[in-house]
Amino acid sequence: MSGAALLGEARNPIIRWEWVYEEWDQIREALLEHLELTMLAMALGLVVSTILAAIALRFRWTMTPITATTSLIYTLPSVAMFALLAPVFGNLSRVTAVLPLAAYTLLILVTNIVAGFQSVPQSVRDAADGMGLSPARRVWSVELPLAMPFIMTGIRIATVSTVGLVTVAAIIGQGGLGRLIFNGLRRAFWTPMTVGALLSIILALMLDALILWIGLLLSPWQRRKKAAA
C-alpha cells in the first residue's frame, strides 16, 4: 500500500523525535494549557462540590438527588457536552471548556467529601462539643482535618480523570494536549497523537503523586501510622 501516512513507515513512526524537538514550543504551550484547564476545572469543581457536600451533610434527604444528578452528569458524553456549550459561552471562552470539566468532577468530589466527614467518629465530635468548641471551630479544626484523607483521595481521582478529559476539549479549540492529538488526527500523523497521549498520562501520574504528597503533608498522623504499619 503506497502513499498516505502509514503506520510504521519511516516518515510516520509512532514517535518522530525531530518533531518533538522542533515543535517543543507547541508542546509546552499545550502542556501548560492542559495544566491550566485541569486546575481551573478542579478549583471550580471543588467549590461547587463543597457546597453540594455541605448541603448533603446538612440535609440528609438531599444526598440521593445530589448523587443521582452528579452520576447522570458523569455519564453524559463529554464530546457532546463541549459542543453544546460552545454556542452558549462562545468557542473561545475558557468557560466552555471548564464548565463541563468541572461538572464531571462533582460526582467523585461530592462522594468523597461526604464520606470524609461521615468518617469522623461520633465520639470525636462529641468530645469536641463537650469541651466547648463552637460548631464552626469543630468543623474547621477537627472534622476537616480528619476528613482530609478522603477529600485528598477524591481530589486525586478527580484530577487524574480531568487530565484525561481535558483532551476532549480540543474539539472546541482548547484542550491542551488534546490539541496535539487533534493535530495528529487531522493528518493521521502519529507523533503528535503519541506525544499528546503520553504527556497526558505522565501529567496525570505526576499530579497524582504531587497530590498524594500534599495529602501526606496535611495529615502527619496518617503518615506516622503508615510508617508504623
Binding site: G130, M131, L133, R137, W221
Partner: protein, 387 residues
C-alpha cells in the same frame, strides 16, 4: 468567646461546685416515654456521684444535660446556684471537664495538643499551656515521652488517661465522666479506677460519673444514684447503704445478692487501702509495742527488720521478756503462715487468713514487707470505704 471561664469571678466557683437537678425531664421527639422523668438530685461539692442503671435509664442523657449537650424539656440544673441555661453553652462546657467512653481524642493532634485543647481556647499562652500539660501528664501517670505521639499510637488505657488529663486541663470544678473506663479490659479498668480515686484525693472535683458497672460504682463513688428505665431515680445512697439497705426490689436485684462474693474474686489485694497493721521494727521499744497493741486492739505484733518481715510475736509474752531485761528481738517469733502477693485476689487472701491461726496475712511485695491484709480491711475495701 474569649471568656476565661474558670476564673474566680465566674459563675461557677473555681474550685468547688455543687450541682442541683430540680425536676429535670427530658422527652425526645418521636419517643413516647420520657428519657428522664422529673429527676431531682443534689450533688455535693467535691464528691463523686455515680449515675448507675441499666441501659435506657437516661443516665447519659442526664449527664449531657449538665453541660447542655442536651437541653432538658423542663426543670432546671444549677451549678453552685447558677442555672446552666443562663450560661452560654460553649462557655459552660469549657468550664466542665468531659470524659467519654470512646475517649474521643482528636486523632490528628499530638497528645500534648489534645490535652491543651481547652487552655488554648481560653487563650492561655504557650508556656502556661506547656507547663499545665506537663503537670497533668504526671498527675494522671502518663509517660512524658508520649506527649509528641498521636492517639493511635497509644494503648486504650493510656488514651483514657489522656482523656482524663484533657478534661482536667483548665482545672474545671466539675468533671463529667460517661462510662470512662468502659472500653478497657478489667485489669486496666481497676488500675484506672484506683488512679481516679488517687487523683480525686488531690484535686477534689465534683465528679458525675455514668456507669452500668455496679462494681465500678461501688468502688469509686461517694454516692450512687441508681436510675431505672425512664430516668426514674430508685435510690440515692452511699455504696454501703445501697447494699445493706436497698430501697426496693429493683435496687436489690440490680446490685445483686452475690455482690460481695463477686467482688472478692474481682478485686486484688493491691486494690485495698494500704494498711500496715500492728507492725514494728525490731529496734522498737516495749513502750511503743504496747501503744501499737492498744491502738490496733490485737494481741499480737509483727516484727520487721530492714523491710523484711521476721515473724509474729504474742502480746502475752511481752511482760516476761521485758522483766528479763530483753528486747523485742528476744521474743519468740512465729514465722508468717499467711503470705499473699499484691496481685492475689481478695478471695485467696481471705482463705489464707481463715486457715492460718493469725487474723491477718502479710503482703509479700517482691521479697519485701508490703503491709498486712486483715479481714476487717477486706470488708472495708469491699464496702468502698476508702477512709
Amino acid at each position: 468567646m474569649q471568656h476565661s471561664f474558670p476564673d474566680p469571678e465566674s459563675q461557677i466557683n473555681a474550685s468547688r461546685a455543687a450541682i442541683r437537678l430540680s425536676g429535670v425531664t427530658k422527652e425526645f421527639r418521636g419517643s413516647a416515654e420520657a428519657a428522664v422523668a422529673d429527676l431531682s438530685l443534689d450533688i455535693e461539692e467535691g464528691s463523686i456521684v455515680a449515675l448507675l442503671g441499666p441501659s435506657g435509664c437516661g443516665k447519659t442523657t442526664t449527664l449531657r444535660m449538665i453541660n447542655r449537650l442536651i437541653e432538658p424539656t423542663s426543670g432546671t440544673i444549677e451549678i453552685n446556684g447558677t442555672n446552666v441555661a443562663d450560661i452560654p453553652a460553649q462557655e459552660l462546657r469549657r468550664g466542665i471537664g468531659y470524659v467519654i467512653q470512646q475517649v474521643g481524642l482528636f486523632p490528628h493532634r499530638s497528645i500534648a495538643s489534645n490535652i491543651g485543647t481547652v487552655p488554648k481556647m481560653l487563650g492561655w499562652n504557650k508556656k502556661r499551656i506547656a507547663e499545665r500539660v506537663e503537670e497533668l501528664t504526671s498527675l494522671v501517670g502518663l509517660d512524658h515521652d508520649l506527649l509528641s505521639r498521636y492517639p493511635d499510637e497509644l494503648s486504650g488505657g493510656q488514651q483514657q488517661r489522656v482523656g482524663v488529663a484533657r478534661a482536667l486541663a483548665a482545672d474545671p470544678p466539675v468533671l463529667l465522666m460517661d462510662e470512662p473506663f468502659g472500653a478497657v479490659d478489667p485489669i486496666v479498668r481497676a488500675r484506672l479506677q484506683d488512679q481516679l480515686l488517687e487523683l480525686q484525693s488531690e484535686v477534689r472535683k465534683t465528679i458525675v460519673l455514668v456507669t452500668h458497672d455496679v462494681d465500678e460504682a461501688l468502688r469509686v463513688a461517694d454516692q450512687i444514684a441508681l436510675l431505672n428505665v425512664g430516668g426514674v431515680l430508685e435510690q440515692l445512697a452511699a455504696p454501703d447503704d445501697l447494699m445493706r439497705t436497698p430501697a426496693n426490689d429493683f435496687v436489690r436485684t440490680f446490685v445483686g445478692e452475690d455482690r460481695w462474693l463477686r467482688r472478692l474474686h474481682l478485686n486484688l489485694v493491691s486494690s485495698l487501702p494500704h494498711h500496715t497493721g500492728p507492725i514494728l521494727p525490731i529496734a522498737a521499744t516495749f513502750g511503743e509495742a504496747r501503744e501499737v497493741l492498744a491502738a490496733e486492739g490485737v494481741s499480737w505484733l509483727g516484727i520487721t527488720e530492714d523491710d523484711v518481715f521476721l515473724g509474729w510475736v504474742q502480746a502475752s509474752a511481752l511482760d516476761a521478756v521485758e522483766a528479763a531485761g530483753g528486747s523485742l528481738a528476744d521474743l519468740e517469733r512465729q514465722l508468717p503462715a499467711a503470705q499473699v502477693e499484691p496481685t492475689s485476689t481478695l478471695r485467696s487472701a481471705m482463705e489464707l487468713i481463715m486457715v492460718s491461726n493469725t487474723s491477718a496475712a502479710v503482703i509479700n511485695e517482691g521479697g519485701k514487707f508490703g503491709g498486712v491484709v486483715t479481714l476487717e480491711g477486706i470488708r472495708r475495701g469491699l464496702a468502698g470505704d476508702t477512709s
